[in-house]
Symmetry: C2
Subunit: 183 residues, 2 copies
DNA sequence: CCTGTGTGAGACAAAGGTGTCTCATGTGGG
DNA sequence: CCCACATGAGACACCTTTGTCTCACACAGG
């Protein structure tokens, strides 16, 4: 029967997130297929990583779309966004640490669009007075990526409950660790 | 003249942070020495990574010590800690993403001590009422690692000014992105 | 029933990285 | 001045991974 391309990418992402040096053979076995079949669907390791990148970009853009980041209070938009991104975090954590993607100094333009969307959201929050202005939108964007990766990693290692994922990330990103008098 | 072992480790960390798959030859050239000499000082790639791990652990423990995390308000202790860790963040960013270190499922006990120190700091902050209690100490510890790595990455890419590093991380970790009425 | 398509298993050469060795060089200390 | 020692350069075999190929098999559709 025909191989489910997306399911292969899913298992590859899960494996590569844990062990970024996994061989094509390990990736194939993790997907329950043979190395030959894996090669028939993805010309090589590069093609596989590029396909994972495309999948990650597509899911990020879908999440940005679904979260309607240009509507309502920016804080609520961030909450919707993180919730929408949650299923993709394992994949994103892998891609975030795969700095090899930028070696060709020509990073996929999809990332630029996503970065722009996130930066715009934080900028909008600053303009509306919701977010503080001493933390730049670029840093908040970077921090969101980092927290998503950390969260995915912590969940995978069992240090954080999967159910708390969105809450932990959103609350830390928006509210910080300090306790406040008024909610 | 004798090779400066620490300087070799520094340049190796800087290179491997950018390109974790760099070969021994690339590491050697980045350090300005030959592959043969690199091999004389570090038996192999594993030994090199282990040495980097030991260096990272030593610097983290030194930072924990220097920051006196058990003294004064926990928030101030976090500020001192991040400031003390700043010079080590490039190395830490590499080690944080080098999940291969835990393959032998026997992670260096040094990390356990550091984790314990950080967790204890956040726990103390919760107990004193400074930190909110809905974010677990384990998650705050993980988030600190993630933000340090993100920050190091953002600085290396030029997306954040190096001078703002400590401020960006501490303020986001403690205060979050939301603007507050009272300082 | 037959055929075509997709798959698994294995063989194979090529490429790249690794670890070890030798030898020449250059430098600092005695 | 001379010697010991550390280094650089290169050669070498070995190993792992990769990419390709072949062949047999299973299964679904005609």
């Amino acid at each position: 029967m025909a191989v489910d391309r997306e399911q292969v990418l899913r298992s590859a992402a899960a494996l590569l997130t844990r062990k970024s040096t996994a061989t094509m053979d390990e990736v194939a076995r993790a997907a329950g297929i043979s190395r030959a079949t894996l090669h028939r669907h993805f010309a090589g390791r590069d093609a596989l990583v590029r396909a994972l990148e495309s999948l990650g970009i597509a899911e990020c853009e879908a999440a940005l779309e679904a979260a309607r980041t240009d509507e309502g209070p920016a804080a609520d938009a961030v909450r919707r966004l993180v919730r929408a991104m949650e299923p993709s975090t394992a994949l994103l954590a892998f891609l975030y640490t795969e700095n090899q993607l930028f070696e060709g100094d020509e990073q996929n333009e999809g990332w630029a669009r996503i970065d722009a969307g996130l930066t715009e959201l934080f900028r909008r929050g600053q303009e509306s007075g919701e977010f503080r202005i001493d933390l730049t939108p670029a840093w908040l964007t970077e921090a969101l990526y980092g927290l998503l990766a950390s969260g995915a990693w912590a969940v995978a290692e069992g240090r954080v409950a999967r159910n708390d994922f969105t809450h932990m990330i959103v609350e830390l990103l928006l509210g910080g660790a300090l306790r406040r008098e008024e909610p």
